[in-house]
Point group: C2
Chain length 600, copies 2
């Protein structure tokens, strides 16, 4: 097999393969001091932003806050080695945290060792799935999540997450992974609202909303340059964290019933071994698959957007490998599922990160934080973290998309609304599955009833156009049908029925010409149906012709008996087919098609 490939060529191929799976070999080669400085600056800024965010998302996942820090160390290093985006920042994100809470909550109670074990196992399973899909080059599977489904899912998750955090602002207990359960639970516990918690939660929430929208212009008025103002504004949550820690200590808030983060273990992430309990794996593999797919789609769309801005490229298949490695690293260091997040990646990008090394430096920053800063965090009110989450996720809620989709495409609107509705009513897993299912069903429904037009010749030209839209010439003995879709098993019967119905309506026919300019493929079922049409037309003394068959389609047809068995011929151009059929009729009965009467 290798005859003719010289050893040098082989070595070159191996190097290409290695670079494909280890992108670090590509950018690492040209790494230098200037790039290092940029990466270090970006890493410092991202580290400061990530500390409160990681704690908050762990809380959302129902895990001890320190797990959020663990999930922000080794995964970043793994992604730096295997990922293809120069600026993506991986770690805990809101939607994946919510999905983790929902999946782990189904097998164990929050706060137990089993719950933590389930979260770690989710990361391991998800990592393995992503890596395997990457090695199989199955990135195309992410296409199953259409834009309307993803945006619906993100809007609904944002609403669910914000609602789920209200309990921490109110200082009450409430549970549920869908709106009816959450709202019911919140409503019945409302009496127990803690005024001191509310006195922390509401001002922090308002402050963070203000920071998000107003801090940048305010800082610019104070004389900061736009970019500096922007980055400083991103540190708003850190200010809130510090101020509320001080408030908690001064006012002895814990004694007044305000929930604090409590003792956070100091030190580096432990070495953890994910569970190999088959029962647990059987319960978790479906949620792990959903987490993988959602995480991958979110991450790839962020990476794609950022790469486009700098005219760089990412490889979706290799991104699967990179995220897989990040999740496996997370599992083995006691973390939970991670992916590339939008907010942190945007900050990393804006702060000037140039290579994935910035991610590795961020990991060092978070590691230092978990070594030295954790004692300070024990007095942090949980309400502060909840406010951080609420403000972050409400910005994900997109109220303009439904109207836009409704105007453009009812099918896409239906998929969007089904995703939002099912996510709010039945939780994140059901929501994603429903969205993908509805999208696919509508796609298949549309594919099963494609568009076809009866065409006639535009006077004085060789063009053929729809008789319902243009003034064209037709002949009562010739029926020209333009098929506007590939012939696949999804629509094979449709074509048969369409042709036979038209033939039944036109008893004078001698020729049927199928104009295949928009037929991009014909599968085995499509071929069966063409054969059936040919036989049935032959029985009725009508010749079937094809015109404008594309090269790749014709190549395949020639491997079968179809062309030999065809009653008529295959023509390169529809004009030629029509002219031949006219000549064969022996008359010239060409007549203007009467648009008003809708006849041929």
């Amino acid at each position: 097999m290798l005859d003719g490939i010289r050893p040098a060529r082989l070595r070159w191929r191996n190097r290409i393969m290695l670079k494909r799976y280890l992108p670090i070999l590509e950018w690492g080669r040209t790494y230098n001091g200037a790039v290092l400085t940029n990466d270090l600056v970006a890493a410092s800024i991202v580290t400061i932003m990530l500390i409160p965010q990681s704690l908050a998302y762990a809380l959302l996942a129902g895990l001890p806050p320190v797990i959020g820090l663990y999930a922000s160390i080794l995964p970043l290093v793994a992604y730096a080695i295997f990922g293809t985006s120069r600026t993506l920042a991986v770690g805990p994100v809101a939607v994946i945290s919510l999905m983790t809470a929902s999946a782990a909550g189904a097998v164990a109670a929050q706060g137990t060792a089993e719950y933590l074990e389930a979260a770690i196992t989710l990361a391991a399973l998800s990592g393995i799935m992503l890596a395997v899909l990457g090695l199989l080059r199955a990135g195309f599977l992410a296409n199953l999540l259409s834009h309307p489904v993803v945006s619906g899912f993100i809007t609904a998750s944002g609403l669910l997450i914000a609602t789920s955090q209200l309990k921490h602002i109110l200082g009450i207990r409430a549970d549920g992974d869908n709106w009816p359960a959450l709202l019911g639970s919140l409503g019945s516990a409302l009496d127990g609202t803690n005024a001191w918690t509310l006195a922390i939660g509401i001002p922090v929430t308002l402050f963070l909303f203000w920071v998000r929208s107003e801090a940048k212009p305010a800082l610019e008025r104070f004389g900061l340059r736009p970019r500096a103002a922007d980055i400083t504004a991103k540190a708003g949550p850190v200010v809130a964290v510090m101020l509320t820690i001080i408030a908690a200590i001064i006012f002895k808030l814990e004694e007044r019933g305000v929930a604090l983060v409590g003792e956070v273990p100091q030190g580096l992430p432990p070495f953890a071994v994910p569970s190999t309990d088959l029962d647990l794996i059987e319960q978790l593999w479906v949620p792990a698959l959903l987490i993988s797919i959602i995480g991958f789609v979110e991450s790839v769309s962020v990476a794609r957007t950022l790469a486009a801005k700098r005219r760089q490229r990412i490889s979706p298949d290799q991104e699967l490998v990179g995220l897989g490695a990040a999740n496996i690293a997370s599992a083995f260091s006691g973390g939970y599922p991670v992916t590339g997040g939008f907010a942190r990646s945007a900050v990393n990008f804006d702060a000037g990160a140039e290579t994935p090394a910035a991610g590795a430096f961020t990991a060092v920053g978070i590691a230092l934080a978990s070594l030295f800063l954790t004692p300070l965090l024990s007095s942090l009110p949980v309400a502060t973290l909840a406010a951080t989450i609420i403000v972050a996720v409400l910005s994900l809620v997109d109220l303009k998309t439904p109207g836009r989709l409704w105007r453009y495409s009812k099918a896409d609107f239906a998929a969007h609304i089904a995703t939002i509705g099912m996510t709010l009513l039945a939780g994140v897993e059901v929501g994603v599955i429903a969205g993908v299912g509805v999208g696919l069903l509508l796609y298949l429904w549309r594919a099963s009833r494609p568009h076809a037009a009866i065409v006639g010749r535009v006077p004085e030209t060789e063009h053929f156009r729809n008789i319902e839209r243009h003034a064209v010439f037709t002949d009562p003995h010739i029926l020209s049908i333009r098929i506007d879709e590939s012939l696949t098993y999804l629509n094979a019967h449709w074509l048969e029925e369409f042709v036979m119905e038209e033939v039944a309506d036109h008893p004078e026919l001698h020729h049927v010409i199928l104009m295949c300019s928009a037929v991009n493929a014909i599968d085995a079922s499509g071929l069966e149906s063409l054969e059936a049409i040919n036989h049935r037309l032959e029985d009725g003394g009508i010749k079937l012709h094809l015109s404008e068959v594309k090269g790749p389609v014709m190549d395949k047809l020639e491997r079968t008996h179809f062309v030999e068995d065809l009653g008529g011929k295959v023509y390169l151009s529809q004009a030629r087919a029509f002219a031949d059929a006219l000549r064969d009729n022996g008359d010239s009965d060409l007549q203007p098609h009467d648009l008003a009467r809708g006849q041929i």
Copy 2:
């Protein structure tokens, strides 16, 4: 809302709706003596053929033989009222009987009351599902089963069924719903083979094979006319039944260890009420859905084939209602799932049936048989029924299709082989699901990486063709891309990457023209990606144009801001777009594209 619709019009609409759901109103109106005679003759012939077949299929389903008769009475009447095929004969069929055995066997042991209850419940669930899908006009769902999947499933089921009946020919016990289990079970019981059973089973099998292939010419040599010979040959199983009953009585076969059918209750079907036990329904709904879909696809393809021969038409949506009614009728009369069978429908057609009334008359025939003939059947050897099944199903095994598919389409071949393999190895349910899954995955994979060609102008014409297949003119400042697929969420990212990659390779570009003659639809995700391409090209100082956009697609685009935001223009013809771009360049740098060097 009803202004302007006169009452007469409304009555007329109601009548149309009523006829749609009750096709009997259509053919019943013109029923007369001549048609009645033809229907009665066909019914008598089908009745004689159906009696052994119904008993055999009930045995295959693991049910008492009489259940096969029950399932051949009321369902035929229900289909006669609601079905749209003039000649389809419904009742127990091989594949559905096997699926019933597999589903009922998962919840109860054969021979128990629970097993029978499960079979009846399957019929009820399947009937309700079919009827609901029919009222929702969801006949298109059957398209999910491509021809390669259905033919693979039928081949594999034929092999499985024939194997499962070997035990009755050998007179041993064996179990399993897939090949490994069946063959293992048969192998370990082989020692117990009963010679007397074998002495019945083998000759009957050989006789039936002979009848199927040789009886018709032999009868013609005896002077029968072809059609009469054909129909007489179809009575072969009845001859085998009669002869083996006589043999069983004369040789006292029961005492020699030959299994006989045993006492068959005499009388009409009882009124049965399907179970409303939610646990049972939860266990059975998935198999019931699969039975519904497989039954529907089998039945519709038979009905379509027969209707085409007489230039009649069937309505797939109304067929769902007809089969739903038949299954509900089966459930309420103690039967099990039924559908339109190929063999019996072909006999009905050949024997001259003209309307569904023939089915109703067949029902009367079977009812008379269950009233008066059942005592005779108690001495019938089970081996005779098994031989009937084996000969019937082996004719379903199609060994030519794999080779044909391999040559035409590797994807269809893969779906075919996956279906055969999974059905044999893991049983009928897994087999169908795997076939549909593989077919869909391959379809989506193909849809996610469609064909696009860079095109140039054919000299002296207004035609544009693929630069890799034709000698054409191109310009270094203009890139014309013909997109050979609709732009949907499945391929939205592909287009973005294809265009940006080509643009990166051609730094001199000023214009990109997307030729949309084969773009039959653009969904919301496709629109997003066009917008993204437009923005990214604008950033690079390149104008994006569209050409040859189809009417329905343009109508939708005009509802958005896309056309306003477009850097370039939308042209009716590619020739015009190319000419404008050339003029805009201010030069005429048109050059023949060098096919050999593969450059633009």
